[in-house]
């Protein structure tokens, strides 16, 4: 197996093993979508126009949950040192970890996103669009999330710091993703919003490996 493949398999096993990270993220996601109607009062019809936006917000928050596991644990237990001395450059390591994060957490979240959105009152005909846009968006969340996790490496309150670093970076995909749903609701094509969402993912895919690797080298020194 290729070197990134070895790491990728380990990352998937770590995400699924010991506490079931994906189930936790999905549970958190569903809790948030149940909480919002309760907080908004007894008028479900009033939520309908913002259902897509709320679903996207919940998706962004749920994507933060397991980011601390990504680099911080490896940094603390010394395995990040071993990984640095491996056959793959650190940039590829960051990319493999982000990809595994997406497959382990992002994809399950995208799969239940339509359920959450429809629960909030979104038209069921939009379910497929929600799933597709969430699939693209969660890849963006995994990439920028990996960058945030690398930047927060070695600080004492890592988990909280990651959330503060990463949430502002999550604004564009939330805006574009919710925008796609809103455009369809207004009878327009979701194309431009999805294109912007995909552009964000491509940008993150270019920046994250290099910036993330630099942040890790800095934390090790």
């Amino acid at each position: 197996m290729s070197a990134p493949g070895i790491l990728f398999r380990r990352e998937l096993a770590l995400a699924w093993g010991g506490g079931g990270g994906p189930l936790l993220a999905c549970g958190f996601f569903l809790c948030l979508t149940v909480l919002v109607p309760l907080a908004a009062g007894g008028d479900p019809a009033g939520l309908r126009p913002v259902a897509g936006s709320v679903a996207w917000l919940a998706l962004a928050l749920a994507s933060i949950l397991s980011l601390e596991r990504l680099f911080e644990r490896d940094y603390e237990d010394g395995s990040l040192d071993l990984i640095t001395l491996g056959p793959a450059p650190l940039e590829l390591v960051v990319l493999a970890k982000a990809a595994a994060q997406w497959l382990a957490v992002g994809v399950p979240l995208a799969a239940i996103a339509p359920v959450a959105a429809i629960t909030l009152g979104l038209a069921p005909s939009l379910a497929l669009l929600v799933a597709l846009s969430a699939l693209i968006g969660s890849l963006g969340f995994a990439l920028t999330g990996a960058l945030g996790a690398a930047l927060a490496l070695g600080s004492k309150r890592g988990g909280l710091l990651i959330a503060v670093v990463v949430l502002p970076l999550f604004i564009p995909p939330v805006v574009f993703g919710a925008g796609a749903l809103e455009r369809v609701a207004n009878g327009l094509s979701p194309g431009p919003a999805l294109a912007l969402l995909a552009a964000y993912v491509l940008f993150a895919a270019v920046v994250t490996p290099f910036a993330g690797a630099a942040a890790i080298r800095n934390a090790q020194g």
Partner: protein, 199 residues
């Protein structure tokens, strides 16, 4: 196999050592000694490329540093790099394969270090000495010429110190090199390098 010239390393404001020069030839072991805080670990981390030195040069025998570090160096720090929640066998498998080992190498390491009964256990259930043996297994499984060891024997009992000594001797006999930070003497003939009193 590694030549260090005029190396200066500092942590924060404090200079740990200045103008340190050191060469390790094939088949040679170096024992780094010195008080706590003298910079033994920092020197090893600089050799492994984790710390950027303030001055000086680290050259490897037949490769650029980045290439040599990806291919020729084994690192055994005082942390074992093992995940508590995972099976010992899975952790060994990942660590050894990441370092370039094949199935045969892993099987040989399991055999030599008597790890068979531990492989199905969760890492958190292992003692510190067993964990160190598990971490050491990747050095046997994946042949890499230069071993950087930080207090390799600290958690081990007398029997396993002797056994690891034999494995280190075998590594030296095959033309490998070892740089180890130690407080007790190494069980193999080693050239001492003293980093001084620290602070």
């Amino acid at each position: 196999m590694i030549a260090v010239t005029a190396l200066t390393v500092s942590r924060g404001e404090r200079v740990l050592f200045r103008d340190l020069s050191l060469t390790v030839a094939a088949g040679e072991a170096v024992a780094l000694t010195g008080a706590n805080g003298a910079g033994k670990t920092s020197l090893l981390r600089a050799l492994a490329g984790f710390i950027r030195p303030d001055a000086g040069e680290i050259a490897f025998a037949d490769a650029e540093p980045a290439e040599a570090r990806a291919r020729d160096i084994h690192w055994l720090g005082h942390l074992d790099g093992l995940k508590g929640a995972r099976r010992a066998g899975d952790e060994l498998d990942f660590q050894a394969r990441w370092a370039g080992a094949g199935p045969d190498g892993i099987a040989a390491a399991v055999d030599v270090l008597a790890l068979e009964p531990l492989l199905d256990l969760e890492v958190r259930k292992l003692s510190a000495g067993q964990r160190r043996r598990l971490a050491f297994a990747r050095l046997i499984a994946a042949p890499r010429p230069l071993w950087l060891l930080d207090e390799p024997f600290a958690p081990l009992d007398v029997r396993w110190r002797a056994a690891l000594g034999l494995l280190m001797q075998a590594h030296l006999d095959k033309g490998g090199g070892i740089i180890a930070a130690v407080h007790d003497p190494l069980p193999v003939p080693a050239r001492p390098v003293d980093l001084g009193a620290g602070r």
